[in-house]
Amino acid sequence: MSSRSVFLARSQPMRLVIALPFLWLGVFFLLPLGLVLGIALGTNSPDSVPPVELGVDLASFRLLFTDDLYLAAWLSSLRIAAISTAVTLLLGYPMAYAIARAAPRRRPLLLMLVMLPFWTSFLIRIYAWMGLLSENGILNQVLRGSGLVADPGTILGTEWAIYLGIVYAYLPFMVLPLYAALEKLDWSLLEAASDLGARPSTAFLTVTLPLSLPGIVAGCLLVFIPAVGEFVIPDLLGGTQTLMIGKVLWDEFFTNSDWPLASAVAICLLVLLVGPILLFQRQQQRSLERRS
């Protein structure tokens, strides 16, 4: 709209304001990603420091796409992330809806209660589930005590524990954008729908759901993207038999010191997520521009 800003962009101080974050992110974010690609094309040489020989070799990538172990890790990462995202949405939507329809003076408190766990340590929240899910943990004690299940087995170390962990850790990220979308919703639209003959369920499906779609998309991406590359949750709750790609990267790097392979995993993870990431960015910018 305003040409004043263009005029501002050319002024000396404004150039500096643009240049500082630009340079910082260029050097510490963009350049390193280029290095990852460079290393991924090198070969592993355990005897040198660092353990890499530079070159142009696709061996690491080839291994990633031919070895069954890695393929299984990719597939289970995607599956686990997708299922946990869906479960988080099913749990988060009613919560966000209930908060958005609560009395306006109660909403800040209700929202704060959703956010509070996020402000405490991620690691500690996952740790909390270790005690709950272990062989003799509280959950099993309750299950046995209720007499419903005689031998519940151990949940810790299974894929179930990972689902629980992801849903638990990422629930605030789902509720927040959903709430933001639902809070803006003009509730008289629902009255209009029912006035025009829609049953409550039809009104929800034809009015509320489409209008909260931006929140749904943002929330799902905020859960799905980090969940695919998740490391702490599968490492602490998942045990040895569940493979997720973030854990593969970690193990290749720290345990096997195979830098090219770890870098190749990183590149593939990035390529896999580039679609969702761009989608998220576009939506983020669009929602902000609509506000101004």
Partner: protein, 331 residues
Amino acid sequence: MGEPIVKIVGVTKRFGAVEAVANVDLEIARGELFALLGGSGCGKTTLLRLLAGFERPDRGRILIDGQDMTGVPPHLRPINMMFQSYALFPHLDVAGNVAYGLKREGVARPEIATRVAEALALVKLDGLGTRRPSQLSGGQRQRVALARALVKRPKLLLLDEPLAALDRKLREDTRFELVRLQEQLGVTFVIVTHDQPEAMSMASRLAVMNAGRIVQTGTPHELYERPATRFVAGFIGIANILQTAPGRWLALRPEKIALSADRPATERAIAGTVVEVGYEGDRSLYRIALADGSTMRVAQTNVARARESAFKRGDNVWLGWSDDAGQVLHE
């Protein structure tokens, strides 16, 4: 007219493909209350922002008091503006808002205090200096915005829709209040408005804008009685536009036409049927169908108290007017 305080020469401003202001020439005299009138998107606000310095013209020059202001940033112009939203700083109290511009000038502290008090007295807000903008009514906020702009003693005060945010009753009182202030201070006011009665009743002169261009400039009386184009005739007040010849029209105001049951003795007369009566209390506005299928609007003052309107729907009536009642238009 003397040396004009504002001289706009061939100014054009584009936003992308849209010409918001197209080759505008305009002169505003010292001490005038000048109004820029037009519908939304006509370019009047852009013209105001060009004057204030928030936009830079793509072409043309803007002179204030004989000095070229074209490249001068807003904070160095001897102009102040009252924003449509008032733009009061919510983190400062009323006195802080009014003092803001004086502090930027480096005025000494004691003088700031006196001038702020004077400005607040001028707009009848004495004693409210410590209030926050959020604690004020709409009318009070408007007056703080006015005081904040006037305290700088600008050569030119720009007012962007100054009355739009007020409710109707307050709007009428404030209209005259603004005129009184302008006459008292002698500062040149430029008011942007879409409200035609507002512009007519306040301005000493006004310019009608359409699609980025100034269509006509003149006193309210000139614009009403001698519109230059069919657009101006239709935009200001109500007009019946009759085509008298190819490329020639006659603009005839509803109140210049007399309505009677019998054929009148006026120079022009035509018969018709009442199809609609709009009773407005002081007057009634009729829509009359003529034999050729066209309709004309006629206003009659309701002099007698006994009846609602002189005529009712379906009545056969005569319309009469004199030869000099209308304005001949060529475009």
